[in-house]
């Protein structure tokens, strides 16, 4: 059922829009191509911002700084009863979607489907969006350089999301493990 909704959503939305347009006598082909012209412009506009964010984040990862940051946080993680294996995920989650999914796949295949860590990691990944990437691309596309509180908001929401994931998962999944 859920699969059906996600696969049917796009074709259905497209059909609905086109049908309404035809009924209202909108020249759909001309309007489509007129709108589509901007596709290239927008994609090219975001390249500089993508390069800045992706290069700096991958440097951070490759230098081993990310690893050391994980190690430094390990004690704190034990204190709040968070499985240590989710740590790279917590750090990477706001930085890069691809990396977060990579870490998650790694956790999932390493610990197997029944582990609590896998479920917790799944909820963490599923409930988040990569703050840095979104900000860089969206602001970059229109040339905004002063983000004001947008970044702080995104990071605070991410932290709240992680805390919520821990609480909710322990309520949902922990009793059933025993």
């Amino acid at each position: 059922m859920i699969n059906f909704i996600s696969t049917a959503a796009i074709p259905f939305i497209v059909l609905l829009i086109l049908t309404v347009a035809i009924i209202k006598k909108v020249p759909v082909y001309q309007e489509f191509t007129e709108g589509a012209k901007d596709g290239f412009k927008v994609a090219v506009n975001i390249i500089p911002y993508l390069v800045a964010i992706i290069v700096s984040v991958s440097m951070f990862r490759e230098s081993g700084a990310l690893e050391m940051l994980s190690n430094a946080c390990a004690g704190f993680f034990e204190m709040i009863k968070l499985p240590i294996d989710t740590l790279p995920l917590v750090i990477v989650r706001s930085l890069s979607g691809g990396a977060a999914l990579g870490v998650f796949s790694d956790i999932a295949s390493h610990f197997g489907p029944d582990a609590y860590v896998t479920k917790l990691a799944a909820v963490m990944v599923g409930s988040s969006e990569t703050t840095f990437y979104v900000l860089a691309v969206y602001f970059g596309s229109i040339g905004i350089t002063k983000y004001r509180y947008a970044l702080l908001t995104g990071i605070l929401a991410d932290i709240i999301g992680i805390v919520a994931a821990i609480l909710v998962c322990s309520m949902f999944f922990l009793p059933s493990i025993a």
């Binding site: 309007e31 290069v55 490759e62 990569t130 002063k146 004001r148 509180y149 970044l151 929401a157």
Partner: protein, 205 residues
């Protein structure tokens, strides 16, 4: 952002020296730059498609119709944007696409929203309240069905991957609502002309 960019790179180089991984850095730059262009180029086609569809939706009044439906909410969230602006309808479209997990559709529409918000913006270099609110909603990543995660779980033989939907929905809603509240609170404190650097620097670490 200037400080974050600087610190990410400076820290990386210092740590690369400590860890003896300097040669990895050059590689990281090369790969990162390459990946950025690949991402941007892979966006062109799908971007063109959705921008075309959205334009049709605008011309036939669907965007206006959706906008009218959600005006009570957007009046409060985006009180600086005229409610008959095309942006309001597109915000709703982009949000629905995100919620359904249609990232490919959400990004082009979202970028269009940013352009429309920029027209209302007085200082073209500084984010407006409306932009920050829109991005707060976006970065919180509200999603009804986490399709990718479910796919990965199913891939490793998880018997009932859909059981993560409800907890994910609860968590994502909490994060989403907090993001909106935080953005609303901060917009009163963090006015456009104030210096932002210090707070961001602290916050990053």
């Amino acid at each position: 952002m200037n400080y974050i960019f600087y610190f990410l790179i400076a820290i990386s180089i210092i740590f690369a020296v400590i860890n003896g991984r300097l040669e990895n850095l050059g590689n990281a730059i090369l790969k990162g730059a390459d990946l950025s262009v690949k991402i941007a180029f892979s966006l062109i086609g799908i971007m063109a498609f959705w921008l075309g569809i959205v334009r049709i939706a605008e011309k036939c009044g669907i965007v206006k119709f959706i906008a009218k439906l959600i005006t009570p909410i957007t009046k409060w969230l985006f009180n600086e944007i005229p409610q008959d602006n095309e942006a309001i309808g597109n915000i709703a479209l982009s949000f629905s696409a995100n919620a359904l997990g249609l990232t490919n559709a959400a990004t082009p529409i979202g970028l269009k929203v940013m352009e429309e918000l920029q027209e209302e913006n007085k200082d073209k270099k500084t984010a407006s309240n409306a932009m920050c609110m829109f991005l707060a909603m976006n970065t919180a990543g509200f999603q009804i069905i986490p399709a990718t995660v479910i796919a990965v779980l199913a891939g490793i033989g998880y018997k009932n991957p859909t059981e993560i939907i409800v907890p994910t929905l609860i968590v994502t809603s909490i994060a989403f609502l907090s993001a909106i509240i935080i953005a609303k609170l901060l917009q009163k404190v963090w006015k456009p002309q104030t210096v932002e650097k210090e707070v961001k620097g602290v916050n990053y670490d």
